[in-house]
Every structure is written in structure tokens, then in C-alpha cells.
Symmetry: C2
Subunit: 590 residues, 2 copies
Amino acid sequence: MPIYNAPLQDMRFILNDVFKADEFWQATPELAHIDSETVSAILEQMAKFSQDVLLPLNRTGDEEGAKIENGAVSTPKGFKEAFTSYANDGWVGLGADEQWGGQGMPKMVSVMTDEMIFSANPSFMLYPLLSVGACMALNSYASQEQKELYLPKIYSGEWSGTMCLTEPHAGTDLGIIKTKAIPNEDGSYAISGTKIFITGGDHDLTQNIIHLVLAKTPDAPAGSRGISLFIVPKFLVNEDGSLGDRNPVGPGSIEHKMGIKASATCVMNFDSAKGYLVGKENEGLAAMFVMMNYERLSMGIQGLGASEASYQNAAQYATDRLQGRSATGVKSPEKPADSILVHPDVRRMLLKTKAHNEAARAFAMYVAQQLDMTKYSDAETKAKAADRVALLTPIAKAFLTDKAFEACVDSQMVFGGHGYIREWGVEQYVRDVRIAQIYEGTNGVQAQDLIGRKVTKNGGAFVATYLAEIREFAASMKAEWMKVSLLNSVNTLEALTTLVIAASKANADEPNAAAIDYLHVFGLVSYAYMFARIVEAASVKEGAFYQNKVELAKFFVTRILPELDARAKMVQSGSAVIMSFDQGYFTAQS
Amino acid sequence: MPIYNAPLQDMRFILNDVFKADEFWQATPELAHIDSETVSAILEQMAKFSQDVLLPLNRTGDEEGAKIENGAVSTPKGFKEAFTSYANDGWVGLGADEQWGGQGMPKMVSVMTDEMIFSANPSFMLYPLLSVGACMALNSYASQEQKELYLPKIYSGEWSGTMCLTEPHAGTDLGIIKTKAIPNEDGSYAISGTKIFITGGDHDLTQNIIHLVLAKTPDAPAGSRGISLFIVPKFLVNEDGSLGDRNPVGPGSIEHKMGIKASATCVMNFDSAKGYLVGKENEGLAAMFVMMNYERLSMGIQGLGASEASYQNAAQYATDRLQGRSATGVKSPEKPADSILVHPDVRRMLLKTKAHNEAARAFAMYVAQQLDMTKYSDAETKAKAADRVALLTPIAKAFLTDKAFEACVDSQMVFGGHGYIREWGVEQYVRDVRIAQIYEGTNGVQAQDLIGRKVTKNGGAFVATYLAEIREFAASMKAEWMKVSLLNSVNTLEALTTLVIAASKANADEPNAAAIDYLHVFGLVSYAYMFARIVEAASVKEGAFYQNKVELAKFFVTRILPELDARAKMVQSGSAVIMSFDQGYFTAQS
């Protein structure tokens, strides 16, 4: 049975020492009522819930899985009780505005509670996550009546939400969806079509499910400019909020997946289901992206959560497992063998994961702070923060999940053969976290988003301000060794950015050929920046806890950061070789 | 339903053009009866069997899994019929000596048929693989009577074999096993103990199962010098080869695993089971290593098989999947979207896997030829080849499987969300191939074996002769670009070898701290060598098939080989930071 202990001390260090949250909150009127003590109490409450309620349901949820019978989906044993408790304690609406019944906590707080849930039970987390995402899209684009009707019920956990985009033939390319929306006489629409990969498309956790559905009206322009967003409730909602008739929308089947098996991934059939337009016709994609961008940071946190949980289990196993002797002399003569922690290669795997977790947690906090700035600051700061969030969202999603997958694979390796056995639970982290690299836009798509919309499209302007901030921080640093590594990595990223922008003008295939390696360089620079901030914050403190943060940064610089130069060379190699093969080459029988 | 077409043309190219097998066979008296036409016919026969019989059982075998009921294990539907057909056609004994009923084919042939089976159905392959491994240990260490009694029955597929090493508390460190062997009066032994992770420990494919078991006699010295090897048949065998009583050995349970679910992985209980000593007391580990070294190359081929199969499916999916448009202009105006093969990043993933497959196939063939030399050459050549095999076995096992795992993960990524769905079959490649990095000595243990026994222990002598061979080949090369890359990589490996040997004298922790990164540098150098040989062989031929081999080598040099310098830096960073943390740091709650 896997263990999990929420890393509260690490979280507080990042929040209070590295990001000095109290100062930020004090300086922000809407957040001035929040202080680190209140937040600490919230974290402790969620730590308890994650460890005591959610963790025990993770393995059983994987073995049992979500099930469909007679057109209705049931979640594994214990999920309904856990969700009810979660909702009753107000967790669904933790970050929601108080006018909708939420607790008004900033993202800098929910980023940590989300991590705990993702560590303890990622399948569970996906149910409220999609609800909150749906609320954010509604909050941005729905009418006042729609907000009043739906938001309080979803934030309270009485109802839940989904996001219905993908169709069998259309995933990344939403411009070619076929789901139709035919206007009814009463102003509503009749929605017909099939959506796939719908997380929480049906389940038994809530009384109602509010689907947000992308569809095309009869006269819609072709492509992504002709997509509208609709609210399609499972049960129609009367004006007073009570439930009416069942809407003709339901799960055709659920997917059999590699992991996150307790999360119901549904094929949803809409058969002239009644839908209500959100915002204006043909402007649905923008609304959906509000939701999607929120999910993308969450996917990064899913990665971090898995990586943290897998680390804790691997570290405990390595400590307990006696096998062989230390090369430098017997360490535990009273035992038949030494702990495998004496072997440098085992430590290397653990430290790699630990370093990832440390940097990822700081980076998620950084993005969370920027998100809070987009909501609570003055106009100029809001605009700057929005650009920064746009730039970093693909890193938060793709880099954090790529590194988290590596980390979970390494943790599994520490277990040797036992890592391959389901009962130990560490192979589940690998299977579960794998989806985070794939959904909400594959990491390849994130890399293209970064290098395309976020870099080349604005001539590198977003990158320039980010690197200026890092250089400014570096200039203030005391730890010379960290500063040198950081500035070297910044210089490399800057040079690559210039190179890619120039190359893209000559050949439109260049950005995509460079995309994933450029994203990894960018991610490594960002982690170096985070470690630089960690080193500066830890260096002014005393005690082993802080000293180890500095040592871990040294490990990062010597054992992880060197990948940056290799990735840079790959970026520099360009698209010519890749594109030199005929299309037929790839499938030619050989 | 996944596809698989055996890459016969690629195999023939490696065998005939790169390694000029005919010349080697003609020059080797014991192999002079073999020619490339006979081999080609064998390959075609196995291609048909793999594609038509084994492939369709791969998905169903994964879903059904091996089962245990009333102390007996059954394999999934169709496995018994497939195995009977496989055995009847003589495949179990393909590489066995004719005196034991085998077909006497060299490893250079079975390396290719093994790859096909591993592509089509890795779980199936493990049953005959363990049988052949057991035969090899018996062939080297058993008495003439034992050989006559067991080898023909196992090679014919009437019986099968296992390898019983691991115990719950003892995996990598076999010195601490507890299984006891008490001498009986008739010269046999009573074996008692529990073994875990026993592949094919019980099943319904054969009439009898011959377990090779490591155990300790009462007066055995402590540690790995006190381990003996025993034959423990499921049914005792009469002198005439007929079956006698059931021996008290059987499966206590089977493991629930991440993958290779159709392979029965058993907990085996020995309850005073009758066992027969193989060779001498306390010399069991050497016999077991005969088996283990054979398996380790096979694990590399398991990786290659999975990588090839996953590639073929990803390439087909990428060709068929229409999504988005090419950045350089619409390529299929008659279709709603272009094939995703127009996107450089999709091609990059496919080419990376294709390059791995090409180099891995050549490398496996190289090691196979060396293995054949250890069996069929003059004494001096035999000794040299044995050293080379010792040096390269950890690369064949660990580097090929690490790269194969990456490849299967990339192939899964090409499928987007569909890659996560079981019915598509590509997530199974990821789950199945993962074990190849873990069993038969984890890849971390392989890395330690390389840098310890194979490099530092002999002062780099094995490496020196290998690099001398590569430099000699490079001197003869026409393709200057490939030659330069190859020689640079050789120089880096040489320098690292010197560095690690020197460092190991000052600090015994240095080799293990460097191990995995050193192994990857070594693997990349070896792949570069293989591509150099491929380029030279392909350059003298005409046609797109050969031209594409050269292009793929260019892709390898620009997109894969740069990892070498990053790994080299990691090696150079040493053990100091890794060992600076207290043991308690790793599990300290934070």
C-alpha cells in the first residue's frame, strides 16, 4: 500500500520564503485578508483529507475502475462518499469568488491543495477539476442569468461540469468538428453529435452534470472560426434551479485506459439535446480556451503530484531494502546487507526526482502568482502577467509532465522487480501520469503553441521580458556558482530564440521541427531560475533543511542542467533532414 | 487491432550487406552449410507465424492474462495451440545443437526470429526463451546423463524450463538467498524455500517443467560463493525419460503486473522437492550466469521487437490521421485536413524510433556474431570474442531497452489520446517493454556491471580493443561527416574511461555514480559505430531504400547523438554532491 505525506514544510518554504506570499497579499487589496497562518491551516486540512480519505481509494479505484451499466456510469467504491465530503467542506469552490459561494482563495493556495489531491488520487481530482474549469469558462462568457443558475450549484458540488470538445476524427484540429447546433424556436438549440474522451461525462457523484459543448450552427463559417459553445445539462434546469426532464445526452460507452481508471472517460452521444448558447455564436473557442488554459496548469500539477508521491514511496523502499554492500565499506554490519541507499546510482534517481519536484513546485507557484496578478492587479500589471501566463502555460503543462513521467519511471526503477507489480502501487503512478502528457493538448502541441503563438508570433517579445526579469534577479544573487549556470542557460535560450525566429521566416517548417527541444531548453532555464530563487531564499536561513535545498540545486546544475546544451544542438540542426524523407517512407514495408 | 509486418528487407540488409554473413559462414567450418537463402526462408516462415498466429493473441492475452486456479496456472486462450505449433515446427531448438535435436542455427539467425516474436507477442516469447536459457546452463554444466535426459525434451518443446533465483528479500544480491538444499541418501537433494518472479513457473503449455534452482547446502559458505544449482522437475523423470510422481513444487500465486500479463510470473514454493545437483556444489552462480547472459541479450531484442512494432503502428496512424494543415501550405486539398505526417515534430518522433531500431538491430547482430565466434572459432578468436561479449552484454541489455522504452512512449504519443486507450494496443507496448529495463538485472545493475567488472576491473582493456576496432573501421570510411562524428564520440568515451578508472582508485563510489550515464555514452558510441557501418554498406548500393539509410544516419547524428555530450558532463560531475546528503534526508518528512 503506497504512502503519501503532504510535503507541507516544502510548500511553506516555497510560498513564504521563496515567493514571500504575505508581502504580495498585503500589497494587493483584494487579497489583503489572506495571511500565511490561515493558508497553513487550509493546507493541513487538505493534507489530512488527502492522506486519510483519498489515498486509500487510489489503488482500489485503479483495480475496480469506473463502470457503465444500463447507460449510467458508476465510480469505484468510496468515491461518492469522498466527493460528498469534499464538496461539503467547500473544496470545489476553494478558488471561486464569494458571490458564487466560493472561498475566494488565490491560485497560490489552490495550486498546493491541488498538488496534494493529485498525489493522493489523480482520478478523483479530475471530477472537481473539470467542474471548476467549466465554471471559469462560464464566469468569463456566460450571461448573468446563466452564471446565477449554474455557478453556485457547481461550486457547491451539487452539480458537476464537463468539457466536450473532441470528436472521433477531430482532436487537436477542432476546426473540423461535426456536432451540430440547430436553433429551436425558444432561443435554445438542438445539439446532435458524438464527443469522445469526455472526462466525467457521466458518473454518480452529483445530481446533475453540466456539459459545455462545442458545436457548429447551420450557417457557421468553416474551420475554427465557426465554433460555438453551449451549455447542455444532463437534466434540464428550471428557472428556480430545480431539476426538470432528462436531456437526451448520455454516455455511449466508457474508455478502457492505460491508467486513471477510476476517472470515467466517456463517449457522449447528443441526440437533439437541448443546449443554451454561451456568449455569441462562433466565438466558442475563446471561451473554451479559458477553461483549457486553466486545465493546462493543472496538468502540470498533476505531474508534480504524481512525481512527489512516487518519490516518497521510492525513498522509503530504498531505505528499507537491504541488498549488497556499500562500495566504500560495510555501512550496516549488523544487517545481512546495506540499504540500497548506499549506492550512488539509487541516490541519483531519487535526487533527480526530488530536484524536479522542488523546481516544479516553485514554478507552479510562480505561474499561480502571475495568474493571481491577472485577476487582482492594476491594468498594466494585469496585462504583463497575462502575457507571462500565456508564455509559461505550455511549459507548465508540457515540461512539468514530461519531467514528471521520467520521475515516476525512475521511482519505479528504484523498486526493481517489485516496481512492476501492481500491489506496490508505483507502476500505477507511471500509468496514471502518462495521460498528463497527452490530454489537454499533447505536449507536442504545447511545444508548437510555445514556439508559434508565444514566441515567433510576437518576435520574441514575451521571452525578452522574461529573460530580463531573470537577469535582473541574477544580478542580485550571492551564490556565484548558481548565477553563472543560470546566466549561461539564459544566454543559450536567448540565442536559440533569435535563431528560431529568423529560421521561421525562411521556412515555415522550422518552428515545429525545433518545438519540443526548444520547450525543454525553456523549461530547464525556468527550473534554473527557480533553483536560483530557492538558493537565495535558503541561504539566509540556518539548518539542514535549508542547506539541503542548496545541495539539491547543485545536483540540478551538475546532473540535470547539462541536458540543455544537447537540446540546443538538436534545435540548431533544423528541419532539413526531418523533411527529406518522402511521406511513403514511413509506412513502406521494409 | 495493432499491425505488424516483419521487417525482412531491413533484416536482410543488416545480415547480408552490413555484416556479410555469407562470408563469415563460409570461413567458419561448422557454419559453412548455412547460406543466406536458407536463412531467408527461415525468416519468411517466422514472419508468417508471428504475423498470423502470435500477433492476434497479443491483445487478447493482455486482457485475459495468465490465471491460477487450484494450484495450476493456465495461459490465455490460444497460447497452448500456438506453442504446440511453434514447438512442432522446431522453433524452440532453432539454435540448439543437432545432437540434442536442434537445428544448429547460429545466433545471427535466431536474433532475427526472436525479434519477430518479441514484436508480435512478448509474453509468448518468454516461455520458450526461459526454456532455451535453462538448456544453455545445462549444456555448460550438467552431466552427460542429465543432458541426455533433459535437453532433447526441452528443445522439442515437450517440456519447458525455468530459472529460479529471486527470493522475496534477495534479488540483485543473491548471496543472501535462504532456499535450502539438504542431501538425500540417494544423492539427490531436498529443496525447500520460496522463489518469486519465476517466469513460466507454472503453465499449461508443456507436460513437464524443469526448474533450475539456486539453493544453499547446509555447510555452504556465506554469500555468493555458497550457492549451488539444482534441477527440480515439476514431475520427476524416470531413467527412460517417462514422467513419474509429482514433485512437491508448485505456484503459490501469480503476480499481477503492469504488463506481459499473458506471461505467468509465479511465486514458487519448494517443499522438500527432489532436486539434482548441476555441476559442483557452491558453483551454481557461474552456471546461472550462462543462462543470464543469454537472457540479457534477449532482453535487448525484446526492446527492439517492441520498438519496431510500436513504430509500425505509429507510422500507419500518422499517415491515416488527418489533423491540421502543413505549415508550408496545404498538402491534401481534397481532404478536410492534412495527414499529421506533414508536421515535423511527428516525423521527429517516428524517425527517432526508426533510427533506434536500425542501430539496435545492427548492434544485436554484432553481438550475435561475437557470440557465434565464441562457439565456432579458433581459440584466440574465441577468447577475444568472449571478452567483447562480456563488454557489450550490459549495453545490449540496458541501452537497447532504455531506448526502446523511449521509443514506445514516443509511438504512443503519435496517437494522441487514442494512444492511451487499450483497444489501440500501443499503450500495451509501453507496459510490456517496461519490464525489459527491470528484469534479468535492472539497467542500473547492468550499468554497474559495465563500469565495474567490464571496465575498471581490467583497467579499460576491453574498451581499448573495442575502440581500436572502431577507429580502424573509421579509417576506412568514405562518408567524412559520419566519420568525424564517430571519431569525436570515440574520443569522448576514451577520455571518460580514463577519468572513471582514475577516479575509482581514489573513491570507490565514483564508478556507480557515473554508471548509468557512462553506459549511455557507451551505447551512443556503439550506435554511431553501427550507423557508420550502415552508411558504408548502403552507400555502395542504389535506390531509395539505401539512400534513406544514409539519411537516417544523418538524423541520428543531428538529433540523437548530441545527448552524448550531456551524459559525458554528468559522468564528469562525480559522486560528491550525490553522497553529500545524509541517509535520513531522503525520507525526512518535509
